[in-house]
């Protein structure tokens, strides 16, 4: 029966719960390894050499994935995918199993009510450049026949869709570094609209390539703290000087509360609201005062039916750039003006860098874990919070969250002026 013709479900049934989580980051190849390393104060940033096909290597700070995705996927599958899709598949497989679907084929049986939303930022950049190199050095006859499907921004979404057998729709939101968060915004809408009972949603990125690194470096966006890799990504710190590029994927199984209850699924947390705005100000810089970000958080709170005072934790976008962090801090100071000391703000990019299009989804997973374990994760690199910033930033040690019902927010921003905020509850 098409939901369009069904009686409108009760609001409680249309609510979205999170029943599965998946991660692959510089801290670990799955959720338990990443979360444990994060709470332990581990850091995945190091100095690495990157060389273009014909050219000298250049040393950059980077946070490459802890587990090579090609080592945990079937070899032929890995060979057919851009690295971004490899990460997406690894995280999606974990999330789906975590949701109680031991065999992915079991999930596929409900394909007509199953959707996938996976965002990317730079997408198939590495594959494009590799094939361009083959084109130039060996001719058009040696370009891979899979060049086009793997360079498309919907490649990770399409691969995850194939893996789980999603027939209710496969989408790939592209909003630069907000893509992963926008995927969850879209997933929430699909559950509420009744388009799907289950949405596998998240983000993936694999752009540790000399061109992307050089491009961000030329923008002045990267940290130059080459002599101190583990202290380089230091969001909200007075001495922050730019971000460190990471890679990986985060994936969540978002499910209608009714569907999850009917199959007796374990619920990690609830996705209660989402807000999206655009600065319409500048292609790469945030609007002064973080007004667009503040508006997105306001929308998410309203959507979730939350007062700011009910929020105890924020996983901030906080990339460690001087301007970006300041703008976001202004936004959060404004929204949470009446309760700033009660909100533990985590800046987890300190540990695994900025994963671009995956960031919003990875941090959504971490937000759910923080609520579940009542622990706001630390940022070991933080030495001194910027005196311009009035947030209670979680420093070297994890911060316990209070007992009782908990709500949290995570923020994402991307080039192009995108602002996304997601609200979760325990």
């Amino acid at each position: 029966m098409s939901p369009r013709h069904a009686a409108a479900p009760a609001p409680e049934e249309r609510a979205a719960v999170v029943t599965g989580l998946g991660l692959t980051t510089a801290l670990g190849g799955d959720v338990p390894a990443t979360w444990r390393a994060l709470l332990d104060g581990a850091c995945g940033v190091g100095r690495h050499d990157f060389a273009p096909p014909e050219g000298p290597p250049q040393t950059y700070l980077a946070a490459p994935a802890a587990v090579e995705p090609g080592t945990v996927l079937p070899p032929a599958k890995a060979a057919h995918c851009d690295r971004s899709a490899q990460f997406a598949l690894v995280a999606a497989r974990e999330a789906v199993r975590d949701a109680g679907f031991e065999e992915v084929s079991v999930l596929a049986a409900s394909g007509s009510r199953l959707a996938v939303v996976v965002g990317v930022g730079l997408g198939g950049l590495t594959s494009i450049l590799e094939q361009n190199h083959r084109l130039r050095t060996r001719g058009p006859g040696r370009v891979s026949p899979r060049t086009i499907p793997v360079m498309l921004p919907n490649h990770p979404a399409a691969e995850v869709g194939l893996m789980v057998g999603a027939k209710a729709g496969v989408h790939a939101p592209v909003s630069a570094c907000a893509s992963g968060a926008e995927a969850l915004w879209q997933a929430l809408g699909m559950i509420r609209d009744g388009r799907a009972d289950i949405v596998v949603a998240g983000g993936a990125e694999a752009a540790l390539h000399p061109l992307a690194l050089a491009g961000f470096a030329r923008l002045g966006a990267l940290s130059r703290r080459l002599d101190d890799p583990e202290g380089a990504s230091r969001p909200f710190d007075a001495d922050r000087d730019g971000f460190v590029m990471g890679e990986g994927a985060g994936m969540l199984v978002v499910e209608s509360a009714a569907h999850a209850a009917a199959r007796g699924a374990r619920v990690h947390g609830r996705l209660t609201g989402a807000g999206i705005t655009n600065d319409s100000h500048h292609v790469a810089q945030p609007a002064p005062g973080g007004t667009g970000c503040a508006a997105a958080v306001d929308l998410a709170l309203r959507d979730a039916g939350l007062h700011p005072e009910q929020v105890r934790h924020v996983n901030a976008h906080a990339t460690s750039t001087p301007l970006g962090d300041l703008g976001e801090a202004r936004a959060l100071e404004q929204v949470f003006a009446t309760c700033l000391d009660d909100v533990a703000v985590s800046a987890t990019k300190a540990a695994f860098g900025h994963t671009l299009g995956a960031a919003g989804a990875i941090e959504a997973v971490l937000t759910v874990l923080a609520l579940r374990d009542r622990t706001a994760p630390p940022a070991r690199s933080l030495e001194r919070v910027d005196p311009e910033i009035g947030l209670r930033v979680v420093g070297r040690s994890p911060a316990p969250l209070p007992p009782g019902p908990l709500a949290a927010v995570t923020t994402s921003m991307g080039f192009g002026g995108h602002n996304v905020a997601l609200a979760f509850a325990s």
């Binding site: 079937p74 070899p75 032929a76 599958k77 060979a79 057919h80 040696r142 891979s144 026949p145 899979r146």
Partner: protein, 92 residues
């Protein structure tokens, strides 16, 4: 048809290449007379990839006309032993 040790080695190498290139295919499933299309599920895109992998591995060029005549693993092996033994202008 009895095969020489050299032929068997080539067949084994091909079976491994096929398993590494074609999704959901294991070395054990690939027999010398398996039909690529009917037995191994090699669709047109996968066939292009198999040819590309063979071209990379043995540093040869396989024309489209040649590729269309290669329908079993043994046929590929026969083509390879000819092409590799007499690389007509083929260079790395």
């Amino acid at each position: 048809m009895p095969s020489t040790a050299e032929e068997r080695e080539l067949l084994d190498e091909l079976r491994e290449l096929l398993a590494a290139t074609v999704e959901d295919l294991s070395v054990e499933e690939v027999g010398p007379d398996s039909s690529l299309k009917d037995d191994l599920g090699v669709d047109s895109l996968a066939m292009l990839e198999v040819i590309a992998a063979i071209e990379d591995r043995w540093q040869i060029e396989v024309s489209q006309e040649q590729a269309e005549r290669l329908t079993t693993v043994r046929q590929i092996a026969a083509h390879l032993s000819e092409a590799v033994a007499a690389p007509a202008g083929g260079t790395a």
